[in-house]
């Protein structure tokens, strides 16, 4: 990935266009674009403007509260945080192997989460762009417009999401922010009635998920050149894989490849993730910029999420999704597998895999078992990694001898994708905005690139205490009087002009 267009040489002379807020994403973000007099793009930045602070305020809390508390980072994928924190606390408790019931209930919860989140993202948030066109009428470019123009597609999207939410409710206790997963296991399994209710609908969900893969494939075929090239860039990638190299969204070892496809590390124990990943800080962003240590902060940026997972795994362990994966990889000589919009295709393959996995789990009697908890030898530290809908999610905690959390580090999917999303929007800005009068439709192209990553902006800004901050005091005539900047180099203060002080 390149850093072209990250910082303009003379930003004060440029015209500023802001997309604020970025719409149809989870959380609050904005994009700032600086243009010169010829409408040539000179700088593009994606900013996540929320402030969360979870890493700080979880300190001093008892460890058993953590899986329930940290999931409040997000309202769309709380299950991912709930499970990543639970896995970290499993490790802290020395639990090396969950009971079969606990592991399968957690997997069921997680794949329910994948199903509902992918359905939400594709149908509710992104399909308006894909079905109506990136620059189509903004008044209709939303889920209400989809319901009016394509009611069957909208219905499938709504019901797929609803089914996923039901799986979560039955495994976690609530559709959003449940308490099902606890350190060392789960607090409930499924009843026979719950199992029967889900079994009644799961086959329809598998069929509809397969239809969704067909739909994104058709969109690619109809718009081949545009979809292949839209926001395209070369990138390294990272994901979890199972011991045999297959896709596993709940557990596995870390696999990373550079942009040429060369393996950087494989089946790496995520309990030592800091040996291969570090985080860079930039003065203009609340978000950190993770990178592979072996490649350094400039060359080591990478991306995570469905596209990386589907292209990096050796296989998908459910038959329909594996067949779709093979076709995706072979499509147009492999072109879609490297395209930014290929994220959507890969996302739908994963949704199909989630539906198939839920179907298999529902036929497994362990999910109605009653052996829920395991124990082990208490440790001081715990790391939990899971493949959340948007990509690899790392939770890392240290717990003192009194059972209180003394340190927390969360590296969420959107943070892994920070540089990748910035690169994608810069590529789109270069191609679609350069030299043209800016319109809403053109600006939506920037948002389409962001939506491809399915960012979860609210959970991406959780640090506290080292947040880069810029404050400018502007006089009534528009001149900057005073600027204060706090970044990784400390606080700098620049007074441009003294007024009102004699």
């Amino acid at each position: 990935m390149s850093f072209e267009l990250e910082t303009a040489a003379y930003p004060e002379k440029l015209r500023r266009v802001a997309i604020d807020p970025v719409s149809r994403v989870e959380g609050h973000g904005k994009v700032t674009i600086l243009l010169d007099d010829d409408n040539q793009v000179q700088q593009v930045r994606l900013h996540i403007v929320e402030f969360r602070g979870f890493e700080k305020f979880i300190q001093g809390r008892p460890y058993w509260e953590v899986p329930v508390m940290v999931q409040r980072l997000c309202g769309i994928c709380p299950v991912s945080h709930h499970l990543a924190a639970s896995k970290a606390m499993d490790m802290m408790l020395g639990v090396k192997q969950l009971t079969p019931t606990a592991e399968k209930i957690r997997r069921l919860m997680h794949y329910g989460q994948i199903l509902q989140s992918h359905a939400l993202h594709f149908f509710h948030l992104s399909s308006p762009d894909l079905l109506f066109g990136f620059g189509s009428d903004v008044a209709a470019r939303n889920i209400v417009g989809i319901i009016a123009a394509h009611p069957e597609i909208a219905k499938k999207g709504v019901l797929l999401r609803k089914f996923g939410q039901e799986v979560i409710r039955m495994t976690a206790g609530k559709r959003v922010h449940g308490t099902g997963s606890i350190p060392g296991g789960v607090n409930k399994s499924l009843s026979s009635e719950e199992r029967a209710a889900l079994l009644k609908d799961i086959y329809q969900m598998v069929t509809w998920s397969r239809d969704a893969v067909g739909m994104i494939r058709q969109l690619f075929e109809q718009n081949l050149a545009e979809y292949n090239e839209f926001g395209r860039f070369r990138s390294s990638g990272m994901c979890l894989v199972r011991a045999d190299g297959a896709l596993d969204l709940y557990h596995g070892g870390l696999r990373a490849r550079d942009e040429d496809g060369t393996t950087l590390f494989d089946h790496f124990n995520y309990g030592r993730y800091w040996e291969v990943i570090a985080e860079d800080v930039k003065p203009w962003s609340y978000m950190k910029f993770p990178f592979f240590k072996s490649l350094g902060p400039d060359a080591g940026s990478y991306r995570v999420g469905p596209l990386t997972r589907v292209t990096h795994c050796d296989s998908i362990p459910t038959p329909l999704a594996e067949k779709e994966r093979q076709e995706f990889l072979a499509f147009d000589g492999g072109s879609a597998a490297g395209a930014t919009l290929g994220y959507h295709w890969a996302r739908m393959i994963e949704m199909l895999h989630a539906a198939e996995t839920i179907k298999d789990l529902l036929h497994d009697d362990d999910i109605i078992g009653d052996d829920l908890m395991a124990t082990g030898q208490r440790q001081e530290r715990g790391v939990g990694v899971i493949e959340a809908p948007r990509g690899t999610l790392i939770h890392h905690y240290r717990v003192d001898e009194n059972d209180l959390v003394i340190r927390a580090n969360l590296i969420v999917s959107t943070t892994h994708n920070n540089q990748a999303m910035n690169t994608a929007v810069r590529e789109v800005a270069k191609k679609y905005l350069n030299g043209r009068e800016i319109t809403e439709g053109l600006l939506n192209h920037i948002e389409v690139a962001i939506r491809a990553f399915d960012p979860c902006l609210s959970c991406a800004t959780h640090a506290l205490g080292q947040m880069p901050l810029e404050v400018a005091i502007v006089g009534a005539d528009g001149t900057v009087i005073d600027e204060a900047t706090r970044d990784n180099r400390g606080l700098t203060h620049e007074i441009h002009e003294l007024r009102g002080i004699t």
Partner: protein, 235 residues
């Protein structure tokens, strides 16, 4: 037990020496309360059990039942005052129900539901209160304390240990203290089996390493509102 008084128009029988709260509870009628517990002496401090006795306000947990009294309990006026008291309790402490293990078993939360408290209304104080994790088996999270002093009474009267006492002055200064030189629970003879370890109506005193073992939706006040649990106080 031939004497009666009227509570919201209903005849409530009572025995000599019983308070309005004791008689109502024995008869299965719920009067909202937090600091009263049937096993310990009443002190009328939370004021949530305030009723109108012959037109005058009084704490039902310390007002003797008398023949012929006319007592008003669940009127709109009284429940509104109770709601305000609850709102003040919520803003004085740090009550974050979503991540509290006591949620669903908490009298403060259940009473707020019973009285239709929809928001804290007042500005939050966000007091800086300590968490005491020094004991091997019990966690104290004073963020949730409502100063009911039931732990003081239970430790003193049931356990004979005097582990807790009320101390300090002022709205934010007065709080529960620990009777040890260090001020830490771990330096006392407190045990998880003590009566005081299970008396807390909110989530201050909790056994360690047990969190969310009972799913949301299956907890005490998830299954029935607090007004339907009167029999437990009567037994």
């Amino acid at each position: 037990m031939n004497d009666t008084f009227q509570l919201d128009g209903e005849d409530i029988p009572f025995a000599p020496g019983q308070t309005i709260m004791q008689a109502a509870t024995a008869h299965g009628v719920y009067i909202p309360h937090l600091c009263w517990h049937p096993d310990f002496s009443a002190h009328g401090s939370c004021k949530l059990c305030t009723v109108k006795v012959n037109g005058r306000f009084g704490s039902s947990c310390i007002t003797q039942a008398q023949p012929g009294l006319e007592v008003e309990n669940r009127s709109m006026e009284l429940d509104e005052k109770r709601r305000t008291l609850l709102q003040m309790l919520f803003v004085e402490g740090n009550h974050f129900c979503p991540s509290c293990e006591k949620s669903g078993n908490c009298r403060l939360q259940a009473t707020a539901y019973e009285l239709n408290m929809m928001s804290p209304h007042f500005d939050m104080f966000y007091p800086n209160r300590p968490v005491d994790a020094s004991h091997p088996d019990v966690l104290l999270d004073f963020n949730r304390c409502i100063m009911c002093s039931l732990c003081v009474a239970a430790s003193r009267d049931a356990d004979g240990k005097n582990v807790f006492y009320m101390g300090g002055r002022g709205l934010l200064g007065r709080r529960v203290h620990i009777s040890s030189e260090s001020g830490h629970l771990g330096d006392t003879d407190f045990a998880v089996t003590d009566r005081a370890a299970s008396i807390c109506p909110v989530g201050v005193i909790l056994p360690k390493r047990k969190g969310f073992a009972v799913p949301i939706g299956q907890r005490k006040y998830d299954l029935a509102p607090i007004s339907e649990h009167v029999a437990e106080d009567a037994s």
